[in-house]
């Protein structure tokens, strides 16, 4: 996702290209001093943004950045796998103090490395890679302690790992640890639903309502927690994904509800009605607030919801060819509706 700085760079580059085009077509002719003032101002802005290390000034640089992101992810996976396999291959031959050192020290040593790399390499790719490996090392640390001492698994590990990831993400403006952090803290909150039901914490993942609440909470986080601007779309995207996934699951499997002991069919019907209202509302919210990711996830959810209902209502009633004809017709209707929605927006611009 493009950061605010990157959007500014893109706007400046686009402005320069369009200005050159307008001048070439004879639409406008700026006097040299005005053009020079604008150019000097933009040059200074680009220099300042480039110094932050998080922007691509050219298309070639943008392509290289995409490669760096892929390399970051692959590096994280490879380094984590190397650590995991190293631990497991030597595990059986080590005494307890060495085993403890092998799992406790890596996260402790990697955190200062994150600090140093964030200061020295301003793009943040190396820091993000080391931070993600540190988070995984901490998760391995807690999991192994549980195994060494035969402890029951606990939702507390999700909270600890999620908080650790959030500290690194917010401390150094790193997106990859933020995603893990949202997963960890969100997962912990989701499992809290198991407490009033008297369930083991893991079975909290089979209850939908807490997931819906976590989704709403994640959507609201950017408005009340200050942090890097580039984090907001990730929070909202995670929130929208949780809401859409929760609603779609509840419409087909009423037994996933807190109210499962009552009639599951009635629960499914209730969630079908809720989905019919909530999913379009999510799309509209995304359009009005200009939050593209929320709108896209909401749209995908609404389309999936519609297709699932079509299967519910028509699959057994009509021949297969007619069913798919209906689906095709529905796709055309959706295209027409979206085109109508898009027209006023384009006119407003």
């Amino acid at each position: 996702m493009a950061s605010a700085d990157q959007l500014r760079v893109s706007a400046i580059v686009a402005f320069r290209e369009e200005l050159a085009r307008l001048e070439a077509e004879g639409v406008i002719a700026l006097d040299p001093s005005t053009r020079e003032r604008i150019r000097a101002h933009h040059d200074a802005t680009l220099l300042a943004l480039a110094a932050s290390g998080d922007v691509d000034l050219t298309a070639a640089a943008a392509r290289l950045s995409a490669g760096m992101r892929v390399a970051t992810l692959l590096g994280t996976i490879a380094l984590s796998a190397a650590y995991g396999f190293f631990v497991s291959s030597h595990w059986g031959a080590l005494a307890l103090p060495l085993q403890l050192a092998l799992v406790t020290l890596p996260p402790l040593l990697l955190v200062p490395l994150v600090h140093v790399s964030a200061a020295r390499e301003r793009s943040g790719y190396v820091a993000a890679l080391i931070a993600a490996v540190a988070v995984i090392a901490f998760a391995v640390n807690l999991g192994t302690l549980g195994q060494l001492f035969n402890l029951p698994d606990s939702r507390g590990a999700l909270l600890a790992v999620g908080t650790f990831a959030m500290l690194l993400a917010y401390g150094y403006g790193l997106t990859l640890p933020l995603i893990i952090g949202i997963g960890g803290v969100g997962g912990w909150l989701w499992t809290l639903g198991a407490i009033p039901l008297g369930l083991w914490w893991r079975d909290g993942f089979s209850v939908i309502e807490p997931l819906l609440l976590v989704g709403l909470l994640a959507l609201a986080v950017p408005s009340w927690i200050r942090g890097p601007v580039k984090f907001a779309p990730w929070w909202r995207g995670a929130g929208a994904t949780a809401l859409v996934a929760g609603l779609l699951m509840a419409t087909t499997e009423g037994s996933l509800s807190v109210f499962a002991p009552s009639d599951p069919r009635a629960i499914e019907l209730g969630y079908k009605l809720l989905g019919a209202v909530a999913l379009p509302a999510l799309v509209m919210w995304g359009i009005r607030r200009d939050q593209r990711l929320v709108m896209q996830i909401g749209s995908a959810g609404a389309v999936l919801y519609l297709y699932m209902r079509l299967v519910d209502w028509f699959w057994d009633l009509v021949p297969k060819w007619l069913f798919f004809l209906l689906v095709g017709a529905l796709a055309l209707v959706i295209l027409l509706v979206l085109r109508r929605l898009r027209r006023p927006q384009a006119e407003a611009r």
């Binding site: 080590l94 307890l96 039901l197």
Partner: protein
């Protein structure tokens, strides 16, 4: 720098909390139970990628919890509709419910397989009085279908005529569906002794003894091997 320090403090705090709590329990075990260990019960160790441990294998015929009546199921958190289904043949209205956490007393059988049998379950650990002949661990109790009919013969499996297959009678039972933990960790000294003594044996052809300790707060660990 304060973010880095906070993150490191979190790692230290989490590790210290686990180590101090486990250390306190292990300093004063409440029960010591001698168990038999076979090669078939052990996993990991040596060149294996798995951590060395003794698996707690529950005998299949022991999965239904003995003596767990309707009040007992209610205490564990099961609703009346679920309780009403126990002991009956499974029908289309039965829905698998989420299991409920419980404390489980296990006793090792003295037969040739040395598997574990479920003796009793309770919602609270204090309700299971510790003794030297059993171990108490956490577990999940669920209502599951137990097939009591004979296994389908190969001939029946290929018989596609209506009513051609042997129809299993599925009875709903309260069963221990998971033990937490499901295995007991062995340190490198313990695994070396056990692997040495049980070398070249398979299954439960030879048995070796180990002492399992129970802590005051529900902890459980292998204290020693003989």
């Amino acid at each position: 720098m304060r973010w880095a320090v906070s993150a490191m403090a979190l790692v230290v705090a989490a590790n210290v909390a686990v180590l101090v709590s486990a250390g306190r329990e292990r300093a004063a075990p409440v029960t010591l139970t001698t168990i038999d260990v076979c090669a078939g019960h052990m996993i990991g160790g040596g060149t294996s990628d798995e951590a060395p441990a003794i698996r707690l294998v529950i005998a299949q015929d022991s999965l239904p919890v003995p003596g767990l009546d309707a009040p007992g199921l209610r205490l564990l958190g099961f609703g009346d509709a679920a309780i009403a289904a126990v002991g009956r043949e499974r029908d289309s209205t039965f829905r698998s419910l989420r299991p409920q956490p419980a404390w489980v007393r296990l006793r090792q059988r003295t037969d040739s397989l040395a598997e574990w049998a479920v003796v009793e379950v309770a919602p609270l650990r204090d309700q299971l009085v510790p003794d030297a002949a059993s171990i108490v661990v956490r577990g999940l109790v669920g209502l599951r279908e137990r097939r009591s009919g004979p296994p389908p013969s190969p001939a029946a499996a290929h018989d596609h005529r209506p009513g051609g297959q042997v129809r299993d009678r599925g009875i709903i039972d309260a069963q221990v569906v998971e033990l937490i933990p499901s295995q007991l960790h062995l340190d490198h000294g313990q695994v070396a002794v056990l692997r040495g003594a049980l070398a070249d044996t398979r299954g439960c052809a030879k048995q070796q003894q180990a002492v399992v300790a129970g802590g005051a707060k529900g902890g459980i660990w292998v204290e020693s091997v003989r």
